[in-house]
Symmetry: D2
Subunit: 262 residues, 4 copies
Amino acid sequence: MNLNLIGKKNHEENKIIQIGNLKIGSGKAIVIAGPCSIENEQQIDAAANIVKKLGGHILRGGAFKPRTSPYSFQGLGEEGLRLLKEAGEKYGLPVVSEVMDTRDVEMVSKYVDILQIGSRNMQNFSLLKEVGRTQKPILLKRGMTATIEDWLMAAEYIAYEGNEDIILCERGVRTFETYTRNTLDLAAVPIIKNLSKLPIIVDPSHGTGRKELIRPMTKASLAAGADGVMIEIHPNPCEALSDGEQSLNFEEFHILMKEINH
Amino acid sequence: MNLNLIGKKNHEENKIIQIGNLKIGSGKAIVIAGPCSIENEQQIDAAANIVKKLGGHILRGGAFKPRTSPYSFQGLGEEGLRLLKEAGEKYGLPVVSEVMDTRDVEMVSKYVDILQIGSRNMQNFSLLKEVGRTQKPILLKRGMTATIEDWLMAAEYIAYEGNEDIILCERGVRTFETYTRNTLDLAAVPIIKNLSKLPIIVDPSHGTGRKELIRPMTKASLAAGADGVMIEIHPNPCEALSDGEQSLNFEEFHILMKEINH
Amino acid sequence: MNLNLIGKKNHEENKIIQIGNLKIGSGKAIVIAGPCSIENEQQIDAAANIVKKLGGHILRGGAFKPRTSPYSFQGLGEEGLRLLKEAGEKYGLPVVSEVMDTRDVEMVSKYVDILQIGSRNMQNFSLLKEVGRTQKPILLKRGMTATIEDWLMAAEYIAYEGNEDIILCERGVRTFETYTRNTLDLAAVPIIKNLSKLPIIVDPSHGTGRKELIRPMTKASLAAGADGVMIEIHPNPCEALSDGEQSLNFEEFHILMKEINH
Amino acid sequence: MNLNLIGKKNHEENKIIQIGNLKIGSGKAIVIAGPCSIENEQQIDAAANIVKKLGGHILRGGAFKPRTSPYSFQGLGEEGLRLLKEAGEKYGLPVVSEVMDTRDVEMVSKYVDILQIGSRNMQNFSLLKEVGRTQKPILLKRGMTATIEDWLMAAEYIAYEGNEDIILCERGVRTFETYTRNTLDLAAVPIIKNLSKLPIIVDPSHGTGRKELIRPMTKASLAAGADGVMIEIHPNPCEALSDGEQSLNFEEFHILMKEINH
């Protein structure tokens, strides 16, 4: 592995990514939370409110959704980003959202504090290069079938274009197991810490696909050394336009936040 | 699976894709061959010459290469496409090459007869939509970890934008087996034939990653009902800038062509 | 890989396993067929009759069934073996059946011409050693998650005890794909032929788990160089006590046999 | 899933398995430690001494080793079990060792407090039935490619024969990732807790195959709710006859024990 830029060299300190006053990778775990998809103003406002109130650090919400089927809800697009930015500003939370197209990078960058590259685009090298030319921190999700090496090399692509503010996100890999949506590979956390100076967070929502597993896997992620977690929450998961079965309602999110902050 | 557009309805005939006089999906297997990467004029000319001479039907060659590492050869870009088009015209062969960026679709379309979507971009939905708006046939490679359903839904995305001229290409999936680069899933051939009206070809070069397996797996692919194969060849595989270990030299390609045309 | 005994050394000929007049590995493909489980005398007699009539070579039938659940039908045991042997003798067909317990090896050997080691026991090393001490040919199925190396080393265990009459059987590996029961890895056929002197056959019934795929995958197996196939058939698949959905009825078996013998 | 015997019914309490004064599944995590293989008296004595001294609860050591190759060290057999029993008695530690053959169950039972079923035998149904007829607690490791359902059904086989004292052990599954020996599936811990009343422990040594990952994955396992861990230790891992690269030396084990008992 040629990790010239993101690799861990002797005695080098880990990279801390700063967004306003928030530091990612500093030893204190952060919580990113929000709905899978931004659906309307009330929904994203309610989510932002609860994230702030319970001590979460960053608001997430999808505006461009990579859906398996063209007949599924594809997201609100730029209008969603506008709603996300407003909610973030209202509650004083930085925001993160996914960008899927090289042509949208500049536009999405106007609305978000962190640009997310989704699993399905982890080896969309044109997109990696394009976000590598921005000044925004990048949240790089692991591909469903990406080895540790593939994933780190994808981060190296971004760094190679000049942007080393990269946060890695473990979100499960595809295996034969069907009980969970993916198999969350928590050993990736200490491995990344050993091989790279970049921070790593875990997404137990996509990593398991089952809401009852989010709490124990959040605790396990932090015990393994993760710099944070990303959690899907929704005011009413049963009516969510995407990923309801893996979203916590606000009461469940409250219990989770109490447990990790006890 | 909602396969409104590409699914096989009762008594519907299979789709035949016509490029000049060449018919894909008509019952007669086609051979696409050429180098992994276009390296220079002599190389692509020599490849085109041998493809034509031995009865191959389409010339392939990569100009934009999705490489795991940013430090690997990334392809010649538009200059490569120009060389490919020239070689194709000189020998009377349609040409196919990969497009990786939504912004390049229009430009690449000027040079090629078939637009290829690579495995790593199989769920790059922006790119699928963009090529779906062209008039060119699309060669859609299966993602490394894509289920049959994911793959067919990706084709449906293209069709949904108006372009139903799609050729599916099985190229192996990722498994625990390390002896081969991928595990070629030949059962995909009859499955696709049952579920969809689209033609399907097989790429035994990427599907195995080992040149000694290309010949038996080509024969197996055709026996399973594939509409053709895509083979990597190179005048001097040992000096290839990419994928040399899975490329046939011209002598080996000659033997293969004799066997499948006997 | 230390394949002292079963590896392919320079210029060494492939091993031919002889059972009466039948030669396995001689270049002529053989067909093993019969029901998943032996259920009663009429069923196994009918199966033996059709196997013989249509030119099949060996009769299969399970008497000890490795079932995921203890509440599923576990097979008729020794009584089943007796019925199998009778049917084989009546129609002049050698018979094969699975042995699951070291303590049963001697008893099962009295009834069958070939001892089968099932996928779930491929690394049951005690059992491998025990069958290695018999004089019977062994049919060694690949484990669901066994690499080529694991599998060949399991064969080496048998040979190490003195028995080199081993027939390998590819039957699919476990992957993320759920459309098929397993992913049939046909590249294993030429790989085994390159690395080992042992014959290899393919089981498309377990390898796909879907009856409509058996015919194309049988043809693909033989085109890839397999020494034979093993097919599940049943007089009435819908009423089979196990694996009905992947068993051919006699009419379907007839069509298959015509196609491969045309 | 028909989990009549080991499933979690409404309001039923979790099963606590008692061995002498030690309770497994009671809420207090236990530590099983010892060498992969018992090599000689000094080695197992030294291991037992350190396990006791540092507060470990159970001594492990393999006497019958399931090795991929017949040319690898196969274990000391009954002599190894005698050494294990002596060391356990000397230091007041219960002992666990693997049984691989139905014919050995009675003999192994004389030496150990817990009978281990290894991953490769998880679906050796004859062996499951045989240990199900003993009075000893069973440590049932998950198969390399076993789904949660396969694994629980294997436990149900044991219970069906009358023995419900079963401890499940997650030890990683086989995936495409090659950086680690296996992919440790920690989500299995809360899943098993939800579906079954049985205790579950984790083996981070086999689960990762890399000693530097054992400490973080032990902490993650306990945070996920595991009832204990099983750790490989060796006085001199570099000279171990098996699995040295994943064994902790005594100093490293000391650090681990301090961290989990802080």
